[in-house]
Structure formats: C-alpha cells, structure tokens
Subunit: 294 residues, 2 copies
DNA sequence: GTGTTGGCCAGTCGCCGACAA
DNA sequence: TTGTCGGCGACTGGCCAACAC
C-alpha cells in the first residue's frame, strides 16, 4: 500500500500491506460517528474526507508501521512554497534518510477557508523490529474502505454561472438524493446537506424542464459563491448510512496556492522538518507531520 | 528605536539609535522608485507600505545592528498559530537568548490575498564588536521618514454599504486628490489609484449634494468587495512625489487570522526557528526572518 | 440525457438630494 | 461637515422552457 502523492513523503512499510484488521480499521474509518473525542475541531466525517481526497488516497491505520523520509518531506514543503532549498542548511549526519515509525494517531482536517483536506499524523521512530511492533504491523494491513454511496460531478460553465442552477445527472439523483414525490406538479423538495465543516446548505431540488431533469435551484448560487467554485471544480454528494446528505468539493488543480507563509522563512521550515525528525529519531520520541493529498 | 509590536521580536541594538545616514536611508526608503532589483515581486512602494503599516512601525536601515531573540520569535510564531509550545522540543544550549546581528537586507511585502504588510529581513550574527561593524552601526541611526502627503479614513457603515459610495472628507480631498474643475456642473473627474500590488482601481470623483461634498461613486463598490472591507477598516490615499495616487488599506484588528498552516506542525516551526538561529549563530551565517507589524 | 441560451420577472445595486447630527 | 435615509432607475440574479448536441 502506498500514499501515492502526498506532501509528507510517507509510505507504509512493506511489512504492512494487505488487509486491515477490524480494530485498526475502526479507528481509522468510523463512518458517521467518529469514535474518539477530537480536539475542538468538529470531528470530520471520514467518508466525506475520503470522498474529497479522491480515490487514490488511503491512510495507513493507526498502529501500523510507516516509513518517513525527512529529506523528501522537506523538499515537498519547499515545493509547496515554490521555493528551492537554499544551501545554508545544517546537515544532520545522524538523521537516516528514512525512519521506520509507529503511527500513533491520525486526525482528519479540512482547511476552514478552502476546504482542502489534509491529515495530521503522530509518528514515533522505532529502531527495533521487536516482536510486538511486528505483530502490530502485521495486523495493520491494507483495508479497502467500504464503498459508500456518492457521486461526483465536475461543474460546467452553466453550473457555476449566475444565470442558473445546478443540473444533477439523472443516475446520480436517483442513487443519492432523497426520492421525489412524483405526484407533485412539478415534483420538488427541499434538500439539506452538510459540508465537511458541518455547515448546513439548503437547496431546492426540482424535477422539471423539457426533457425532464433534476435541478438544484434556490440556494445553489450561495454555495458556489461561498465555496468560490469555478467551472472545472467538482462537487461530491455523499449519502451516509443514516441517509443524511453530505456535500464536499474537490478543486481543479489550479496554480499552486502559493502559501508563502509570511510567518516563517522557507529555510526555517526546511530546517524545522529535518531538526524535528532528527530529534525524534535520536530520542525515539513522537513527532507530528501533516499529510497533504494532492 | 524599537520595533514596537512585531512577531519577530527584534529590536534594534542600542548602539544604533539616532539619525540615519543618507546611504542607508536610501536603501530602506526609496519613495517611488525602489533602487534594487527585487525577486519577482513587483517592488512594493515604500511610502505606501509604511502608510499601511501605521505610524508606530519603522524598520531599521540596512547595515545597522539589531538584536534578535530566537525564543521570543518562536513564541510569537506559536502565538500566531494559536498553539501553545509543546514540550518535545530539543534544547539548543549553545544558542544565546539574544543575537546581535547585522541587518543585511530588508524587502517589503504585502500578502496577495489580504494586503497585510510584512517585511523579510536577512540577518547575520556578529560576535565581535569590531571597528567596522560599530561604524556601520553608528552610521545607521534612526531616521524619521520624510512625511508624505496622505490621508486615512475609517470606513463608516455608509461607506461600505452597497447602497452608496464613499464620502471623502473635505480636507482630505483638497489635500490629496487632484483638483476638480469647478466650472463643470457638477464638478467631476475620473480617479486612478494603484494599490500595494500595483493594481489600478478607477473611481468616479464627484462634488455634489446639498450641502456640497466630495464623493467616490462608480468603482468604489468593486474596491470594497475586492478587498473585502467592512465598516471599521480604514483606507489610505497617498499622493506620491510624482503626483500619482496610491491606495492602501488597514484592517480593523479582527480575530487572529488563524493560519494553521496545514503544511508544517507548530512543533516543527518552533524547532525551525530555534535551529535556524542556532545554526546561524554557530557559523555566523546569514538567515532570514519575517517581521510582521500588528 | 445534459449543456447552453433567450425570455422574463423581481430583487438588489448604486446614483441622487433631503435631512439631521 | 458628513453620516444615513427615502427616492428611483438600471442592471443582473435567478427561475423557466426551448433547443442543440
């Protein structure tokens, strides 16, 4: 199993590919009702998180062994700032190029402004292949997430125009949206959907036009404006196991968001990644990274 | 001289307070035409930068000695992320609590999204009070920036409402705006002003109403919307020495922008600040920090 | 089956002086 | 002197089916 294209350059160790055990899977997935009390973040829905992250993303379960590449991570941080790594960086001779780590915790997040999804992971370097660690690792095998009911549509010019609403593909509407009462003329209902921050969006869902079609009208433009969506971006509707409607977005790969931090120089960030890893490796102490799909 | 409330916790050394020499002052201020080729940033106008930063902010001139506090800087970075500093951070026994540094360069910046102003500085630790450094330091004394012609108005509810335009205080209009032709009925003209990113904004400036007053009408709402201004924020009009109009904003102190990076953990940032300073101190090599007024 | 367009209505934007603080 | 309001035009936001691919 691999984390295919993540900023954190982390791959699960070969020893832990396969199928996940029930316990580990529960900690990592936990569909509608997250089991563990998170910080103050409103406990992001895992199904929606994965749907927004895309089909290529899967996270290793808590308790598994993963391989962390400090240098690669550092380079990707630099790349995300569109900045080459300068010289003037101290070398960390005792820092191995890869660290075998025990994955202590994974918390799912979404940027409050852009809805970009990412995960925070706590890793602890392990320098012994002790029996216990291996067992954990063997337990923590690849598990396919139970496929959830959802659809994803790339927005057209009409969908994002102020001129009209959102055209729901027929199969998607029939599979995901609550059924309409076709005795009405025209059939219509009010939809409520929660986004990844648990904000509720309300839409008018109507079946009309010639030929007939499913449309979201009233409320749609507020969503497009609020999320700053453009043609080419995608929206995702998920129906969770409690028949609740969830709503996410996946932006078209735009120009790198250019998060030139204005807080910390890229050199300091680079050094921070390496020094944090070196310190953790020297002490076998846990450290925290962000894994950023994309 | 002090940098009163900056994230970077940097104060100019006592040896360098006083009046600035011509050479150093030229490098730091340079009204309309910045002297040095910058990176790719469009060379921010220094007068406008200072006007947006507010009257309490002044930057030490290039070539002066400054005192840098790594621990304080690190704490302020943590504070900007609304995150306490954890333990698990290595200690840097050879890192002094303050570093005397030569200020190599200062470049002015503004956040492309929020227009928040900040400065990037390159510092080099000096461990000897050599003659040369002292001379530089004595040369680089406090200099009052030549006061420029500008006005600053806090926006009212009417100014930011969609219902109308911007009411220009009379004295401000007469001092800063190009004079109207009062033979016209009503007197009116088109104004062009450049913001800190060199973007041109166009306004209709008209003198009308009963009693007569200066108003900005057409184009004003685009500016308010584009900059996401609200009542309580301020706008600043500057007339530079070439009679060009410059336009800046100063936001009311809102809730901390909460830049929880999603790229680097706060621990790594904390370590990055300290390790970068420690490395620079050990090698007398230059390092880069961001100074963030506010 | 679905993306785009013209029609059309209603709500808001935005320019104006009146008025008052 | 300048902040807010009622007034009113004009524009565009947004719902609709027609039509094309």
């Amino acid at each position: 199993m691999k984390l295919p294209r993540g900023r954190a350059t982390m791959k699960q160790s070969p020893a832990s590919s396969g199928v996940a055990p029930a316990a580990a899977a529960a900690a990592a997935s936990a569909g509608g009702a997250p089991p563990e009390g998170e910080r103050k973040a409103p406990a992001i829905n895992a199904d929606l998180w994965y749907a927004c992250a895309g089909p290529l993303v899967s996270l290793p379960p808590v308790g598994s062994l993963v391989v962390y590449f400090p240098q690669g991570h550092s380079e990707q941080v630099a790349a995300s700032m569109q900045k080459d790594i300068d010289a003037h960086v101290p070398s960390y001779p005792n820092l191995p190029s890869k660290l075998i780590c025990l994955l202590h915790s994974v918390t799912l997040h979404a940027d409050p402004d852009t809805d970009e999804v990412y995960a925070q992971m706590t890793l602890q370097p392990v320098n012994t292949y002790g029996k216990e660690a291996l067992q954990l690792s063997e337990l923590a095998l690849k598990h396919a997430r139970p496929q959830m009911e959802f659809f994803c549509k790339t927005l057209t010019a009409s969908d994002t125009s102020t001129h009209g609403g959102f055209s729901v593909p027929r199969r998607a509407a029939e599979k995901i949206l609550p059924p309409l009462d076709f005795n009405m003329q025209p059939p219509a209902q009010e939809l409520q959907a929660r986004d990844i921050h648990d904000t509720v969006w309300t839409f008018r869902h109507i079946f009309r036009g010639q030929p007939k079609r499913h449309l979201l009208t009233t409320g749609w433009s507020l969503f497009v404006g609020g999320k700053r969506l453009f043609a080419g971006d995608s929206v995702i509707f998920v129906r969770d196991e409690r028949q609740q409607l969830l709503l996410g977005i996946r932006r078209a790969s735009r120009q790198p968001t250019n998060i030139s931090s204005s807080v910390l120089s890229s050199d300091s960030m680079h050094i921070g990644v390496l020094a944090a890893a070196a310190h953790a490796a020297a002490n076998n102490s846990p450290f925290t990274i962000f894994y950023n799909p994309r």
